[in-house]
């Protein structure tokens, strides 16, 4: 039956191409939407996940890392006092403004942290300079993707520009570290960040605690939260809260979901139409096969082979398209995460879409008794 099914499919070349394109577009739309959604999640919680640690402590009422207020200098020694806390790393994460050489302003996110102990290398993905250079007065990193936005040369290494009234010096370049708000990240030391933001010695916006043992987590959170100005979460919790905040706040979740759904509906309709009209066109011949002794399963395989070919060629084309679209969007500042998980999930959904599209034809074929041919 394979040869019959596939020859009939190829014979109707126009329909074949339309339906393969239908699957391809549905696949590309779906993958791009999931990719953008995942990209939003990844970029919104990137700082948290990269900074790591076991427990994060910040001003009570903070709902997202981007809105964290500075907390008072006394909190540091306090969180360190718990016997389970091996290390407390301060982090300053604050929006501020940089000034381009032409005098205009650009909103940026200033991230201050100090290399400390065995803590993860931070900032990560540096393509020029060393994290230790950030200790120099007003030394910052700029991301390669943001150089143009800040009016700096394509290789911003060594350039000077103004950050909130202070003269900053570029000592390092990162690669592809982007914030959800499409604001450039400038990494620097805690002292430099305090100097720019006018904070006093010991002030940070969050404390990241490394514990001696993960089983201490609930106890430490309890203990930190006894201070009425401070709240604490596990790292995973805090990352997830931040992701949820951005997805809700931007309304992106439902928008992306709707677009993906639209792609799927279009895919089901186009593929369903093609399969059904192929089945209708060959109704008499299929009935003839039933008469000469083909069983129902063999008739179903007429539809199955066709949907398989349409689905696989469409999915391959569509995945290629999605990677292309993803690459283009990355160039224009939108992060698209086409991880293996995203692609596998998307392809499973496309497979289900194809099955749905085939259902109508399969039902029609199963109704063939053979008598129709006389």
């Amino acid at each position: 039956m394979r040869r019959i099914a596939l020859k009939c499919l190829v014979f109707d070349l126009g329909r074949l191409i339309t339906s393969v394109l239908g699957v391809a577009i549905a696949t590309a739309l779906l993958l791009a939407q999931i990719g953008i959604y995942e990209g939003m999640k990844v970029s919104s919680s990137r700082i948290i996940r990269n900074f790591g640690g076991d427990v994060w402590a910040m001003a009570r009422g903070t709902n997202v890392i981007d809105n964290a207020e500075a907390i008072s200098a006394g909190i540091g020694p306090l969180v360190l006092a718990h016997p389970c806390v091996r290390e407390a790393r301060g982090l300053i994460h604050s929006m501020t403004f940089a000034r381009r050489p032409d005098g205009s302003y650009e909103a940026v996110v200033l991230v201050g942290s100090d290399p400390q102990g065995e803590a993860p290398y931070f900032p990560w993905r540096m393509v020029a300079g060393l994290p230790s250079d950030l200790g120099h007065p007003m030394a910052v990193t700029v991301d390669r993707l943001d150089a143009r936005k800040l009016g700096l040369p394509q290789n911003p290494m060594g350039a000077n520009f103004e950050v909130y009234g202070q003269n900053a010096h570029v000592v390092g370049v990162t690669r592809g570290i982007r914030s959800i708000m499409v604001m450039p990240y400038l990494f620097t030391s805690l002292d430099n960040a305090r100097a720019v933001l006018g904070l006093t010695e010991g002030q940070v916006s969050q404390w990241v605690l490394d514990l001696t043992h993960p089983s201490c987590v609930p106890d430490v959170i309890d203990w930190v939260e006894r201070h009425r100005d401070i709240q604490a979460f596990t790292t995973a919790d805090w990352a997830e809260r931040t992701e949820q905040y951005w997805i809700k706040e931007s309304g992106a979740g439902s928008m992306l979901g709707l677009t993906a759904l639209l792609g799927l509906v279009v895919g089901v309709v186009i593929v369903g139409q093609t399969l059904y009209s192929l089945t209708q066109q060959h109704f008499k011949e299929l009935a003839m096969l039933r008469v000469v002794g083909a069983n129902a399963g063999e008739l179903v395989s007429f539809v199955a082979w066709q949907v398989l070919v349409i689905g696989i060629s469409g999915a391959i084309t569509g995945t290629g398209l999605a990677y292309g679209v993803g690459w283009l969007m990355e160039q224009s500042d939108i992060e698209v995460s086409l991880s293996d998980e995203v692609v596998s999930f998307g392809l499973v959904v496309i497979a289900v879409m194809c099955l749905l599209a085939a259902a109508h034809s399969v039902r029609a074929v199963l109704r063939i008794r053979g008598t129709e041919v006389f």
């Binding site: 039956m1 019959i4 008499k284 011949e285 096969l289 008469v291």
Partner: protein, 241 residues
């Protein structure tokens, strides 16, 4: 082959199919129509049997019951020794695969397939391996005079040639009974005669042909004519006397 196991000493009387008071009633009481009415016939090998009657007399219905495609209302059909009106109805598809060849008024060829593929792919569905199927298909097409048209698609063939492809499809795999429902109705007189002559040629001591028609021009070719009216067999004429 089941036909051979029937062990008739005289090949001419090998019975391929037998019906016993076979009836088909459509509808629910009180509005019922008896379309086939207590038909008892035997279809034998080595003969071209015509089933003739006016439109609506029940010819197609009878044929479909004989092939196990339509449930009977009462009576029996014994197809190659198997009573397919009872629980053995499940064997009907296998019997159709191995013992029956079908020809229809419309040729029902796949337009996307060549003549050779149209014949061979059906053989493959019947369980033949690809190589064997294509070899036998070629043989069957040569037997119906289409050896030079193997790789033509139906659109490039005349109606008569298309029906010959359909006959090759019915013959391939060597079934013992060829059943045709108005196989000449869509053809002009001359082509119809040629097709009938061809079907006459394929009968053998092991093989019979049963054709439904209401075309009297086919009568001269027949070995036997069954006449049906209002679902009843009203005459059973042996043309050899």
């Amino acid at each position: 082959m089941a036909a051979a196991t029937m062990q008739a000493t005289d090949a001419r009387v090998t019975t391929l199919l037998r019906t016993e008071r076979l009836s088909k009633v459509y509808g629910e009481p009180p509005i019922q129509t008896t379309v086939v009415n207590k038909v008892s016939v035997e279809i034998r090998a080595n003969a071209l049997t015509l089933l003739m009657g006016p439109s609506g007399s029940g010819k197609t219905t009878l044929l479909m019951m004989m092939a196990g495609l339509v449930d009977v209302s009462s009576g029996q059909v014994e197809l190659f020794g198997t009573d397919i009106t009872g629980p053995e109805i499940v064997k009907a598809p296998a019997i159709r695969r191995h013992e029956l060849g079908f020809i229809f008024q419309n040729y029902n060829l796949f337009l996307a397939l060549t003549a050779l593929e149209n014949v061979a792919e059906v053989l493959r569905l019947k369980g033949f391996r690809a190589k064997v199927a294509y070899a036998q298909a070629k043989e069957a097409l040569e037997a119906v005079g289409l050896g030079h048209r193997l790789n033509h698609r139906p659109a490039k063939l005349s109606g008569g040639e298309q029906q010959r492809v359909a006959i090759a499809r019915a013959l391939a795999g060597d079934p013992a009974l060829i059943i045709g429902d108005e196989p000449t109705a869509a053809l002009d007189t001359k082509t119809g005669q040629t097709i009938t002559a061809l079907l006459k040629e394929v009968i053998s001591p092991k093989r019979g042909v049963l054709l439904v028609t209401h075309d009297p021009r086919l009568e001269p070719h027949a070995d036997r004519i069954l006449r049906i009216e209002d679902g009843r067999i009203i005459a059973d004429e042996d043309r050899h006397g």
